[in-house]
Amino acid sequence: MELTVWTYEGPPHVGAMRIATAMEGVHYVLHAPQGDTYADLLFTMIERRAKRPPVTYTTFQARDLGSDTAELFQTAAREAYERFRPAAMLVGASCTAELIQDDPGGLAKALNLPIPVVPLELPAYQRKENWGAAETFYQMVRALAGPAVPPPGSQRPARPAGQAARCNVLGPTALGFRHRDDVAEVKRLLDRLGVQINVLAPWQATPADLARLGEADFNIVLYPEIAQQAASWLQRSFGQPMVTTVPIGVGATTDFIREVAALAGVAPEPALAGPELRLPWYSRSVDSTYLTGKRVFIFGDATHAVAAARIAAEELGFAVVGLGTYSREFAREVRAAAKRLELEALITDDYLEVEAKIAELQPELVLGTQMERHVAKRLGIPCALISAPMHVQDFPARYSPQMGFEGANVIFDAWVHPLMMGLEEHLLGMFREDFEFHDGAAPSHLGSHAALPEAPVPSPQPARDAAVAALAWAQDAELELKKIPFFVRGKARRNTERFASERGVQTITVETLYDAKAHFGR
């Protein structure tokens, strides 16, 4: 049993809903009590979809448990088929129905519906949303593309000369972080390379499209959390190689283009960065100097967290001080990325643990999810969003991809603007302490009938551990600290205290302050 205040991921059947909702011609019959229908609003309210998700819930009640919930399921499945006439059906159970063990797969099979029916086993007490989405997609792909799998050992026929390479683009779902715009951006890159898309899935794909997956030359896995499992099966079954570099950030997009070009046997140059890519120049322009060494904490799903770490370190010149994910299935990848940055990855789905880590590290920028946004807000740290869980704000009206070169531009703005806002707040804080700009002062254009300044507002101080709290600042040292520019004052205080406590210094003097400064350097 686990105490949860907020959860990063929903249950696995919500993952299945994301696949069903992304696709066309699929209906999902879910054995579930009435409360589970809340999941519809994720799609209709948060994502603002104009259609209800293609899901029928059996909505059994306590009084049905004594009689026949199995029949209820069959009635719901039969009615759903007759009403919606889908080309394929998914059937499964939510957490409560899993406990009553009605076997939706067997029950649906007994109905002899004239369409493929894919049963889902999604262990709700063990797994979560992204796993559920990956498993659902994999089961759909297996069921629908399975009949076309060549016998084991058969050679993949070579692509006829003169025919453009074709790939499948796998992973984008409903309720995904910027999936809508990422798809457009990746399509543009592939178009420039002259690579055709055989099937894009699950996004707007039909069951008939999935049956054609084997016809492509290779697969592109845009979101490993969703599509890695299915792509691995396609690789084994059809001998299709896969591209797993996720094109988020300049470096990763460039790698992605080269990998795709190599598999397609085309030149990468037409897709490589042109003048529309602004991130590198913006990052080099002198006003970005202040970004140097900004301490950032990164948390999100594995794909976005790993991508963010690379961009932060290599493309914006930040110092990554923490990196973590709630995607336990991809802990290995995140640990490896953290190791490259000489960090230990934080692998947890406990929001309180993430909060404690942020409070401890006191970063200057948080790149995280909606949860971290709230933590950062409480701690007064600027924050930008990089990953699901989804919020209505994560579906902007404007084009706002994360992938490709335009995605890199979007990321530059999205991450740097909160820092500038933070800087402005600090400036306001500084001026509030200034003798001319205190709260009681009238605007200068209204003449000089200003009141006397009130006591200066104490600036918020970061939480300090017990050893540090025992330290005392001599008065002259405290005054000297105030002469240090406000935007590095907090850091100077922290460094000095760390320096003092490590050396057993009880009282911090002006000397200690400058000793620490010399020790750490700027």
């Binding site: 949860t4 907020w6 009435q34 448990l65 957490c95 406990l99």
Partner: protein, 422 residues
């Protein structure tokens, strides 16, 4: 009201069984935790429960909220961990983090009901170990037993045995049951005081250590139509439930106050005198919206059980035409006064088959559809105008001063439609 007699042909009730597109009782935690300021709600359930509350809360809230979920894992189900020990551990950790909590509700869910986890015994056990600092109670908000607002009913019913006994010689007292916004409570309390009705207490109280007393001299006015279990529990404590329409709109509020005045032997003329200024004010404010809403056809999907009193208000005070009034459950006794006021032949749909109901709605092409969050945008995309029903639980709508606010909630989507050109 004499006109009522001519209108009171029994309403046509359509009972349906199919997919219910409604929230479960856990959702009530969202407003209950705001109302009882030192209570914490711990759902014992699955990740789905945690995700539901988080999603229904709409936005994630800045402060650490006073609700959480103890998520049952496969170790608990497989018997590898003792569920009760696990629950004790989780509650211990929670109360350590939140020393401000005085009342803890263990809230049952679908999975906890299906595995027959005895939260009543757990609450007793935990109450003993944390007494006197924290009281631990339990109720079920499970979707196999409760629909949306029935969670509040179950919560208040769980509070009833905890209410202190009213002293025997104290004389009649009024208890208003059902969570109301603080501002509404204060307005109603002033009206009762002017009517000479009192003492008046409210359930739930704002603080857990300030529970209202109950006994044979207690007269109960229900402020919400979905409190069947709470009413039953109060009756078991000897209290007498007063029957009245609910305090929505001018007419409902007046009739509701009249019921209290009558029970306390106050003359009806006094109610007229005391409420005169507020009624006049509300009627003036409502007039603006009646112009806009009169004659408009409205279709209410089942959601909160507030639908019959809302329909009565929309029909009688705003002259709207009722196409269908859905309700997840119809408590005929508590709603008797409401049903009598509905226009003759009003179609009431109890329960739900959401697809069939959507078919009826599309055929009827109403001017306004009142429905849940899962249906609203898709219906808007089809060209219908909608009002989300969940707002009716989060907004102060009861009493005279809120009558026009309530009307405005229905008018706003229509006004918006007329404003948007592009």
């Amino acid at each position: 009201m004499s006109t009522a007699a001519t209108l009171c042909a029994p309403p046509a009730i359509l009972r349906e069984r199919g997919q219910h597109e409604v929230f479960c009782g856990l959702t009530g935690i969202i407003w209950l935790h705001r109302k009882i300021q030192d209570a914490f709600f711990l759902v014992v359930g699955s990740r789905t429960c945690a995700h539901l509350i988080q999603s229904a809360a709409g936005v994630m809230i800045f402060a650490e909220p006073r609700f959480a979920t103890a998520i049952i894992g496969e170790r608990d189900l497989a018997g590898l961990a003792d569920v009760n020990d696990e629950l004790d551990r989780v509650v211990g950790r929670l109360l350590e983090r939140r020393p401000d909590i005085r009342l803890l509700f263990l809230v049952g869910s679908c999975p906890s009901e299906v595995i027959k986890l005895d939260l009543g015994r757990a609450a007793e056990r935990l109450s003993k170990s944390f007494a006197p600092k924290v009281r631990v109670l339990n109720y079920s908000g499970s979707g196999i037993e409760t629909t949306f607002t029935q969670g509040e009913d179950a919560c208040l019913a769980a509070l009833v045995p905890e209410l202190p006994a009213a002293p025997e010689s104290a004389g009649p007292a009024l208890l208003v049951a059902g969570a109301l916004a603080d501002v509404v409570e204060d307005q109603l309390a002033r009206l009762f005081s002017d009517l000479g009705v009192g003492p008046v207490r409210f359930l739930p109280a704002r603080r857990a250590d300030d529970l209202p007393p109950v006994g044979p001299d207690t007269r109960v006015l229900l402020a919400q139509p979905f409190l069947a279990e709470t009413a039953r529990a109060l009756e078991q404590r000897g209290a007498q439930i007063l029957t009245a329409p609910f305090p929505l709109g001018v007419e409902g509020t007046t009739r509701w106050l009249e019921a209290a005045a009558e029970a306390f032997g106050r003359p009806a003329s006094l109610v007229q005198t005391v409420t005169e200024p507020a009624r006049q004010r509300a009627a003036r404010a409502l007039g603006r919206y009646r112009e806009l809403l009169a004659g408009k056809r409205v279709f209410l999907f089942p959601d909160s059980q507030l639908e019959p009193p809302l329909a009565r208000f929309l029909a009688r005070e705003l002259d709207m035409q009722l196409i269908e009034v859905g309700t997840p459950y119809l408590h005929k006794q508590h709603l008797a006064a409401e049903l009598a006021l509905l226009p003759a032949g009003t179609r009431i749909a109890e329960g739900q088959h959401v697809e069939n109901q959507l078919d009826r709605c599309r055929v009827a092409k109403p001017d306004l559809v009142v429905c849940g969050l899962g249906l609203a945008n898709p219906l808007e995309a089809e060209g219908l105008t909608t009002k989300w029903s969940i707002e009716l639980l989060f907004t102060p709508i009861q009493g005279y001063e809120q009558a026009a606010d309530l009307a405005e909630l229905f008018a706003r989507p229509l006004i918006r439609r007329t404003r948007l050109v592009a």
